[in-house]
């Protein structure tokens, strides 16, 4: 499987294979010097400055470094699950004995990816690794593809995200397709998302999908010929008719088909079945071609099973063994804020980033699956969070309000710059106002949520992106053990 070899590097203006030029080396040197300085001055991580400096010195440095990886660049893009999917993929590649450069800090725009690459490069040799593994923002994919040859692009899903940033879902889809078409990368696509599965028919494609979920999973509804009750509309690529579903897993994700022509969900080569998605972990059978592996995934929720499938499919396309894929999934250590389980002051805490209706609905479903959850929701409206918070009204917080209303003592703490918006969201979802604690300041909100926790109760924290960054700092000062981000 896999090695497509459709490379046509001469068509790409900036790509420069082989040894690093003096200019690229100077770029690496300048960026690393800047990076050391930034750390010394305590300006913190996450700065794109080294990337910007490197690109100033040598505009082709990203392509040059990426071209040094022996086996090429693997890219992960899509609305939800980029970080987790590339995290699981890195765990699989590590288990399989490969070396790779990875922008695991999550800086996924062109400068951020450049920054992460120049910081792992050596000034003499540049990148010495089997792969480059990039999580790439949807809008940045075509820009990265113009500079670096991408061997394989994994697309997770397409949900409506920050409309203030992209405008529309159609726009996002076109950007991703453009990135894939630049070098006709191999595409690893979600068969169950009609907006993803129908992309780029002209390149070599590998599909992954869920065949069937064990009964009892809260988020599954079985339907015949229904339209999805979802924000995302999906149309048949051939005849523009809205697709219908024989089975919906969540949102617009499921077994879709066109009611007008015979176009339908492609049969995935990488498939999960007998999926049991629990509140803290999941089990499923993973079929890779005709091999079947019993998988354990230390992450909650069906959406994470999709992330594991996406990573498995990409690894499979690279010829990684089924055993390595299975144990890479099992050994995955959570990223901070992506369903991470930890202990704070002796109390169990799970942090799950939320940023759009589909992801938030799934995160809330995970909390609701817990028998007696403590809840802290923190909403900011900075650029990185999305400035428009109307998406809160499209996410299903009703299931949480219903669950908490059953318990006379259950309360929810809301925080962040838009704590008040979240408070009324919970009120209109059906939770009595006196059960909603409004504390815009995150440290205080965390303090009170922890103090109100009953013995044995888990605190579920659902923060938007910049709240997540703050939370990480706050928890560090509280001495909570942090896994790598």
């Amino acid at each position: 499987m896999g090695d497509t070899n459709t490379t046509n590097d001469t068509s790409n203006p900036i790509i420069n294979q082989g040894k690093l030029s003096l200019r690229d080396r100077s770029a690496v040197f300048a960026a690393q010097a800047a990076s050391t300085l930034i750390k010394k001055m305590g300006l913190g991580l996450g700065s794109n400055l080294p990337g910007r400096i490197a690109r100033k010195v040598s505009p082709g440095v990203l392509g040059a470094l990426a071209a040094q990886s022996e086996k090429g660049v693997l890219a992960v893009t899509g609305t939800n699950g980029k970080s987790t999917t590339s995290g699981i993929l890195s765990s699989i590649l590590r288990t399989a004995g490969f070396t790779f450069a990875h922008n695991k800090q999550g800086a996924n725009l062109v400068t951020g990816i450049t920054a992460s690459l120049v910081q792992t490069a050596s000034i003499i040799d540049g990148i010495k690794a089997d792969y480059c593994l990039f999580e790439i923002d949807e809008a940045a994919l075509p820009l990265v593809a113009r500079e670096a040859h991408i061997k394989c692009v994994v697309v997770t899903n397409l949900f409506r995200d920050q409309l203030d940033r992209f405008g529309e879902l159609d726009t996002t889809s076109k950007l991703i397709a453009k990135g894939i078409m630049q070098d006709k990368s191999h595409a690893v696509l979600n068969a169950d998302d009609p907006n993803v599965a129908q992309m780029v028919p002209d390149v070599e494609r590998l599909f992954y999908g869920i065949e069937q979920v064990e009964s009892g999973a809260a988020s599954v509804c079985q339907v015949k010929g229904e339209k999805a009750d979802s924000t995302e509309l999906a149309y048949c690529r051939n005849c523009q008719t809205e697709v219908v579903y024989d089975r919906i897993f969540y949102g617009q994700i499921g077994h879709w088909r066109c009611p007008a022509c015979d176009h339908h969900r492609p049969t995935p080569q990488v498939r999960a079945f007998e999926v049991a998605a629990g509140p803290l972990s999941s089990r499923f059978k993973l079929a890779l071609g005709d091999r079947v592996e019993d998988c354990y995934l230390p992450l909650p929720g069906l959406f994470n099973v999709y992330n594991a499938l996406a990573a498995a499919a990409c690894a499979y396309s690279q010829g990684v063994s089924p055993e390595a894929i299975r144990s890479g999934i099992k050994e995955y250590t959570t990223l901070f804020g992506r369903s991470e389980k930890m202990t704070v002051e002796g109390k169990p805490v799970v942090v799950q980033l939320i940023k759009n209706p589909a992801g938030a609905t799934q995160a809330v479903a995970s909390c609701v699956a817990d028998s007696n959850p403590g809840i802290l929701i923190a909403i900011n409206d900075n650029l990185a969070d999305g400035r428009d918070v109307s998406w809160l009204w499209d996410a299903d917080f009703e299931q949480l309000a219903t669950k908490l209303s059953l318990d006379a003592d259950a309360k929810v703490t809301v925080s962040g710059q838009r704590a008040e918006d979240m408070a009324i969201r919970m009120k209109y979802a059906g939770l009595a106002a006196d059960r909603i604690i409004v504390q815009p300041r995150l440290p205080q909100a965390l303090r009170s949520a922890l103090d109100n926790l009953a013995p044995g109760q888990t605190l579920w924290i659902l923060p938007t992106y910049t709240n997540l960054l703050d939370l990480q700092k706050i928890m560090k000062t509280m001495g909570a053990p942090m896994s790598g981000t």
Binding site: D164, D170, R387, D388, W393, D394, R418, K427, A433, V438
Partner: protein, 238 residues
């Protein structure tokens, strides 16, 4: 008592949290023991203008706007009948634009509206995105979030909802936001609009009920959280 809400094109025009407006209308009615019926009215569905008290049309993506515009023209006569019977219309963003005379894109043919509001919209060159505060004539405020590139200009038969204090409003030029013609309302504010503007919401409910029940006095609710959120929105950066 019963409040009957027709949610037009719920399946298509559902971005920007339009659901929040329907939730706010129905919850605030139900908290006062008023029954609520909500029906999603789709493309090609018939409308009974004698039946519904309140019509809601939200915003969508450009791709859907063309299909909707066509269908809305087919429904125009009945909707006009409903408006003449003093049914309330709340329309947001794309829905608002289609209630005017036309929408003129950069390229291609004009989209005809149904002229329930004396206004027209032309495609603009920049997207107007951000928090908005509107000061109304009675001194009250409306808060929300706008995200549009269409510029809407009002004719002389219609009033705006108020003056923009923060943000762009109808067109980013004349400092006006939204439109009101009798019981027909249009606005660019979402975010969602109604949950954070409870007085405005109650006023809509009252007008909708007046159609069949006359002057209805609504019981005062405890709006502490709503008022907090409104107050906070007044000081958000644009």
């Amino acid at each position: 008592m019963e409040l009957r809400i027709a949610h037009l094109y719920a399946h298509f025009l559902n971005i920007y949290g339009d659901r929040g407006n329907i939730v706010a209308l129905s919850k605030r009615a139900m908290w006062r023991d008023i029954d609520v019926e909500i029906k999603a009215i789709d493309l090609k569905d018939e409308i009974d203008p004698d039946y519904w008290d309140l019509y809601f049309i939200g915003g969508g993506q450009d791709k859907q706007q063309i299909v909707i515009a066509e269908d809305l023209l087919a429904k125009a006569e009945r909707l006009r009948d409903a408006a003449n019977q003093k049914a309330v219309f709340l329309t947001v963003c794309g829905g608002y634009q289609l209630l005017g005379h036309y929408y003129r894109p950069h390229q291609g043919p004009e989209l005809r509206g149904i002229s329930l509001i004396d206004a027209y919209t032309v495609a603009g060159n920049r997207r107007m995105i951000g928090n908005v505060v509107v000061k109304r004539n009675d001194g009250s405020t409306l808060v929300g979030f706008e995200n549009h590139s269409g510029k809407t200009f009002l004719g002389k038969d219609v009033q705006s909802l108020g003056k923009v204090v923060v943000g762009n409003g109808n067109n980013g030029e004349d400092k006006q936001e939204g439109a009101q013609a009798g019981t027909v309302y249009g606005t660019y504010l979402h975010g969602s609009l109604l949950p954070k503007n409870p007085a405005f919401t109650d006023n809509l409910i009252q007008q909708a009920l007046a159609r069949r029940y006359g002057d209805v006095k609504l019981r005062q609710l405890n709006d502490t959280l709503e008022e907090q959120a409104h107050k906070r929105a007044l000081v958000l950066p644009a």
